[in-house]
Each structure stands twice: as structure tokens, then as C-alpha cells.
């Protein structure tokens, strides 16, 4: 679960991480008032969306007065912000965060993750923060350093100082940065995060270390059982289509194309996605039906998909395994088509467990389908139909 910036900062501040101390605004007037209350000279207005890449996309702007804060907030609020991480539809900006602008003597990159190579919590740091980080890290990967932590994340800020001193900070700045990092690690472990990223971590002229931006992704699998997370009422904005799919136990990502895709399994989903694009088609979505998902749940997601504007064909590519069997999905297609007035053509390919039973459901219910025996011809046919549809 990707937290909004202000939620991430609230969570980190609760663990003692220094943050600039901003306030959320839902209206331009509120933004102006927030700026006045902060009583600084310069402010940052930041669009609150659940995706990164905001700085380069115009989602972070500086204001020299509360009036300017109001004007910038009016531009951002209720607009759709498109960043490198949002997809072309962008995300609706429903809130802005108004913070005092701080002066940075030094900017660092700091993150905490679980390293897949050794299964240990790990601090990642680099001597470039903010928008510079990704470019610097891809051009000169050796500037990015890691510090492996014990499995329980317990370390001391002294040890972290020994790690951070290679980035050209010393004295109180180093001590403060290490304390901040230690607290970020604690938050990472206590809240069962998969990512805590502070970019940039700045050193102010007073030598304080402050988390100027923060990204926290909580492990969704830990949500049901972690009491710390229950107390926080995080309502993360989500596209309605993706929310409906999530509520029905289907992994679903909305994309821009006109080929609706019904696939079981993450690997088969990725393989299908690759094939469609290789053949010149555009998927409307990514789908991975979870193994415990029933046909009624799948039907709701399929119905939502076929009723979307701009979908010209439904590509069904399933391989029944030990857990999801083909007839569950054929039943789901039947339910969805019987409830919807939109009968877009189905290109159908099913193999594996209960494939023949599924075939008889498709035939008996007279669904508008064309069947193929393997993946490549099925995908090619779906792409051909889709390219006619978009003309």
C-alpha cells in the first residue's frame, strides 16, 4: 500500500524522524491559510498523489507568499497529474501539502528496503538527493552504497554514522543524519514497510537532518494483523476499476489500450502482455486472477472491463492449473455477458484443467467467441480485431 506523502511523513514523524511540518489543504483558500499559519517566507506546494515523479511533472512548486500558495494550489487541485509513474490518464489531485521551504546545504538519498539477495533489511544511500538521484545512480551506480542490517533491524546510530560518513558529512550533521536513518529503520520494521524512501534527506545550515520528501509503501500482506497499522486510517486514493478488482480478489492494473485481457496467473499475465505488445496491440489492462477467486468475483471484474469505453475485443488466455480451473473462468464470462448489454467479441484460448468442460460452457451459452488452440494465434487474432475497431 503506497501512502501519500503527508501520510508517510506523519508515520515517520511518529517515530521521531524530522520533517518540515506541513499541512494538508483541500482547497486553495485552505492552502493560503496553511501558508499563513506556517509563518515562513517561502513555501512548497506539493500535489498528493500515490505515485512518484511529481517534481518533473509540475506537482511540486514553490511559492513566495500565501497568495501565491493559493494560486498554485488552485492550479493543482482537481487537475490530473501525469508523471512517469502514473500512466497516461494521470492521477486526480484531491489534496495538496503546504510546507515551509527549507534551505539545504547538502542533499542525500536514503532508503530502507529488504535486500532480495540476502533477505536482510538494508539501508541504501547516495550523495545525490532529489531529482538528481535517479540520473546519477543510473550513470554511476557505484555512488549508491548499501549497509546490511541484522534481521531484526536493530542497529545503533553510531554504526550508521560509520556508514554515512562516506557521503561527505561530519560533526553534528552526521550525527543527526544517522539518528534520522536509525528512526527510519525502526519505522520500516515496526510498520512492516517494503519501502521507506527519504529523497532528499537534507542538511540545513543549522546542521539538522530533515526528511524533505518521504515515500512509504506498507506490505499489504501485513495489514490485517499489524495493530500499529489499524490505528491509522489511511485512505489511499485508488482508481475505481482497480478498487473493484481488488475487492473481488483479482490483481488488476488499468492500462491505455483497447484489448481487454482475462488471464489467470501473474506469469501467464506478463507473458500475454508481452505477446500483445510484440504483435502491435495495446492491452487495456493487466489481470492476474488469484487462485482462490470465485466465478462471481471474476464476473464482476470482466463486466466492468467489457463495459468500459474503448474496449474492442476481450482476449481470454487461461491455463487451468491445480488451483484455478478453466470452467470457473468460463462461468465468469457467462455471468458477465448475461448481465451486460455490450457483447464485444471474445478471442478465447483455454488449456489445462477442465478445459473441455469450459469449452462446453462457452458453446452452450452461445458466447460470442472464437477459439484458438495456442497463445500466439489467439493474440494475433485479438490484435487484428482491435486494430479494425480503432479505425
Amino acid at each position: 500500500m503506497y501512502l501519500l506523502e503527508h501520510q508517510a511523513k506523519e508515520l515517520l514523524a511518529g517515530h521521531g524522524v524530522s520533517v518540515p511540518g506541513g499541512r494538508v489543504a483541500n482547497s486553495p483558500d485552505q492552502a493560503e491559510k496553511n501558508a499563513r499559519d506556517l509563518a515562513g517566507e517561502k513555501f512548497v506546494i506539493k500535489a498528493q498523489i500515490a505515485a512518484g515523479g511529481r517534481g518533473l511533472a509540475g506537482g511540486i512548486k514553490f511559492a513566495s507568499s500565501p497568495k501565491e500558495a493559493q494560486r498554485l494550489a488552485a492550479e493543482m487541485l482537481n487537475s490530473r497529474l501525469v508523471t512517469s509513474q502514473t500512466g497516461s490518464e494521470g492521477e486526480l489531485v484531491e489534496q495538496v501539502f503546504v510546507e515551509p521551504a527549507l534551505i539545504a546545504e547538502t542533499e542525500l538519498y536514503l532508503a530502507v528496503v529488504v535486500n532480495q539477495r540476502n533477505a536482510r533489511p538494508t539501508i541504501i544511500a547516495a550523495p545525490f538527493g532529489g531529482n538528481l538521484f535517479e540520473k546519477a545512480a543510473s550513470e554511476t551506480p557505484e555512488i549508491v552504497k548499501t549497509m546490511t542490517l541484522p534481521a531484526d533491524g536493530n542497529t545503533s546510530s553510531n554504526e550508521i554514522q560509520g556508514f554515512l560518513c562516506q557521503f561527505g558529512i561530519a560533526g553534528p550533521a552526521l550525527e543527526n543524519a544517522a539518528v534520522l536513518a536509525d528512526r527510519a529503520v525502526r519505522a520500516f520494521c515496526d510498520y512492516e514497510a517494503v519501502l521507506v524512501e527519504i529523497n532528499p534527506l537534507i542538511i540545513t545550515p543549522e546542521q539538522s537532518a530533515v526528511a524533505v520528501d518521504a515515500k512509504v509503501i506498507i506490505d499489504s500482506n501485513a495489514l490485517p494483523r499489524n495493530p500499529l497499522l489499524e490505528q491509522i486510517n489511511f485512505s489511499v486514493p485508488m482508481k475505481p476499476e482497480e478498487r473493484l478488482a481488488r475487492d473481488n480478489d483479482v490483481n488488476f492494473i488499468l492500462l491505455d489500450g483497447n484489448i481487454g485481457v482475462v488471464v489467470n496467473g501473474a506469469g501467464l499475465g506478463l507473458a500475454t502482455h508481452d505477446l500483445i505488445i510484440d504483435r502491435g496491440g495495446k492491452p487495456a489492462n493487466f489481470m492476474d486472477i488469484r487462485t482462490t477467486t470465485g466465478s462471481f468475483q471474476i464476473a464482476k471484474v470482466v463486466q466492468m472491463l467489457i463495459e468500459r469505453d474503448g474496449i474492442d475485443v476481450l482476449l481470454v488466455n487461461i491455463h487451468g492449473g491445480g488451483m484455478t480451473v478453466c470452467d470457473t473462468i468460463a462461468e465468469a464470462l457467462n455471468f458477465a455477458y448475461s448481465r451486460s448489454s455490450r457483447k464485444i467479441p471474445i478471442v478465447y484460448r483455454a488449456a489445462g484443467q477442465n478445459a473441455s468442460w469450459a469449452r462446453s460452457i462457452m458453446r452452450d451459452r452461445a458466447l460470442p467467441y472464437e477459439e484458438f488452440g495456442s497463445m500466439v494465434p489467439a493474440v494475433s487474432r485479438a490484435v487484428a480485431i482491435a486494430s479494425k475497431g480503432s479505425r
Binding site: 512517469s84 492500462l255 506469469g267 506478463l270 493487466f286 487451468g320 491445480g322
Partner: protein, 291 residues
């Protein structure tokens, strides 16, 4: 032979009396595997599916000399179940549970290091030695005993490749699902080591995807070792949008997020044959084995 298990491998099931545990244990027993007992605290002394039940893994292992355990428990109990099996020194632990919290897996891996156990999973379809032993939840209809080793991060694609290799008359020596989670037990590299030594395996299919570094580690191994058997790799997610997680949690990784292109290039340089798409895998391997 085969890798990791055979018709002689005794198996216990942790969580056997649950709905999923009952269903999959029954299917595996009917497949002909040697299932010896079930474990469920509070059910010790009873019988389930005709097998004795024990309260703890240790008791079950001592009574039956089982070498393997299949874990079919809810996500929030999975870490404790894996740790119990490791502490009881079960040689092979297969955890099929999905959605195990990542911080739990950090704890499990910490205890697993230096232990006598090998872990498969979690979020894995398990292990299949066609005609001999099934420790997992995969369909078996399309699998036949044969000479191809398959190791995969994806259950759905594995079913696909099993069916393809059977259709082309090759069959499978062992099929291993290493699981779709970022932190899990044995990986591609270890399976390749085992397949190299396995006299029943003539060639290997490796099914990988974006994220993590396991494909790169497999490539490092293949370029160092004289592997001596053809390896066909299918890496999916070439066109997945960056920074958006698609399906498996393992596909999103902040540290060293390996692109499909980088993985294919590394494996190709190491001598593996790269399948263009899923339908290309079995024909490519058949061709390589004929030469």
C-alpha cells in the same frame, strides 16, 4: 533419480485438516506420493484422510521419518509453520501459502541459514516429480515422466510449459516452482546445480520474470560452470510498465530491479537459449536436445 524428492520421500502436511489442506493432500495422496502424517495442534491422535495426526512437526517427523513437509496454512501462520519445520530438521519444506508478509520471511530466512532444511516457496505451486511424488498444488494431468527439468517463478506459466513439453513427447524429470515472492527459499541457481548433477535431466527450462536478481545469479552460475545441458529461458514482463507492480510481489524491487532485457542478455551471454515467447519454449528445447 530426480531432484529434491522421489517416490521414497515421506511427506507430512502442516495444516492438513483445513479445507485447502484436505483438498490438496487428498489429490497428492491419490497421485501416489508417500504421505505419512498430518500436523495440526490439538488434533494429535486422530486420523485424517486415513493418516495419523500429530500436534507438532517434531512428533510427526519422529514417528514417520518423513523427509519433507508441505505447508498449507493461512498467511499469518506460515512463518511459524516454516520455523517449526526448520527446527524439527525437516530436509525439504514446501510452503504454498500466498501473501506471507515480507518481514516474516526475513525472520524465516535468518533461521533457515545454516540449518539442515531446504525451503521451497512460499507462494509456490510446489514440487512435482511426475509419476513419483507431488508436494504441492499443481495440476498433474498434463505431466508425464521424462527428461526435462523445469524451474519457475510462475505457476500458470509452468502449467503451460509442462503441457507443451508433454505434447512434444519430452516429459519432465522434476518441476520446481520457486515461488513468486521477493524473499523465498531455494532459487534458480540452486535448482540448476541440482539439475546439472541429475542423470535423469537432459535439459532445463527456466521461467523467470522482471524484478529481483535471481535470473542474473543463474546467469553468473551458468557462465562460470560447464553446465553441459541445454537451458531454455523464458523471461516475461518485457513490456510491463516500470514502477507498477504486475502480479507477483517479486516483480517490484527497488534495489537492482532487473529488467527483462538485462536478464535475457545475461542469460544469453551465459549460453542459455532465450525463448521469444511462451509458445517457443518446448520447440526450442526439443531442437537443442536433438543436436
Amino acid at each position: 533419480m530426480a531432484i529434491l524428492a522421489s517416490s521414497n520421500t515421506g511427506v507430512i502436511v502442516q495444516g492438513m485438516t483445513g479445507r485447502a489442506g484436505t483438498f490438496y493432500s487428498d489429490a497428492a495422496i491419490r497421485y501416489g506420493s508417500r504421505y505419512a502424517a498430518g500436523v495440526r495442534p490439538g488434533k494429535g491422535g486422530r486420523r485424517h484422510l486415513g493418516l495419523p495426526m500429530y500436534n507438532t512437526v517434531k512428533e510427526a517427523a519422529e514417528a514417520t521419518e518423513a523427509a519433507a513437509s508441505l505447508i498449507v496454512v493461512p498467511a499469518h501462520q506460515a512463518a511459524a509453520a516454516m520455523i517449526e519445520a526448520i527446527e524439527a530438521e525437516i530436509g525439504l519444506i514446501v510452503c504454498i501459502t500466498e501473501r506471507v508478509p515480507i518481514h516474516d520471511m526475513v525472520k524465516v530466512k535468518n533461521i533457515l541459514n545454516g540449518s539442515r532444511s531446504a525451503l521451497i516457496g512460499p507462494n509456490s505451486q510446489g514440487l512435482l516429480v511426475p509419476g513419483q511424488c507431488k508436494i504441492g498444488v499443481m495440476a498433474t494431468d498434463a505431466a508425464v515422466p521424462g527428461r526435462v527439468g523445469i524451474v519457475s517463478r510462475s505457476a500458470s506459466l509452468t502449467s503451460e510449459i509442462v503441457a507443451q513439453t508433454t505434447r512434444l513427447g519430452m516429459g519432465q524429470s522434476t518441476v520446481v516452482g520457486i515461488g513468486g515472492d521477493p524473499i523465498h527459499g531455494i532459487g534458480f541457481r540452486r535448482c540448476l546445480e541440482l539439475f546439472k548433477e541429475d542423470s535423469d535431466t537432459d535439459g532445463v527450462v527456466l521461467i523467470g520474470e522482471i524484478g529481483g536478481t535471481e535470473e542474473e545469479e543463474a546467469a553468473e552460475y551458468l557462465s562460470r560452470e560447464k553446465f553441459g545441458k541445454p537451458v531454455v529461458a523464458l523471461i516475461v514482463g518485457r513490456h510491463a510498465p516500470e514502477e507498477r507492480r504486475m502480479g507477483h510481489a517479486g516483480t517490484l524491487s527497488v534495489l537492482e530491479s532487473g529488467s527483462a532485457r538485462a536478464k535475457c542478455d545475461a542469460l544469453n551471454r551465459a549460453g542459455a537459449l532465450i525463448a521469444k515467447h511462451a509458445d517457443d519454449v518446448a520447440p526450442k528445447l526439443q531442437n537443442a536436445l536433438a543436436n
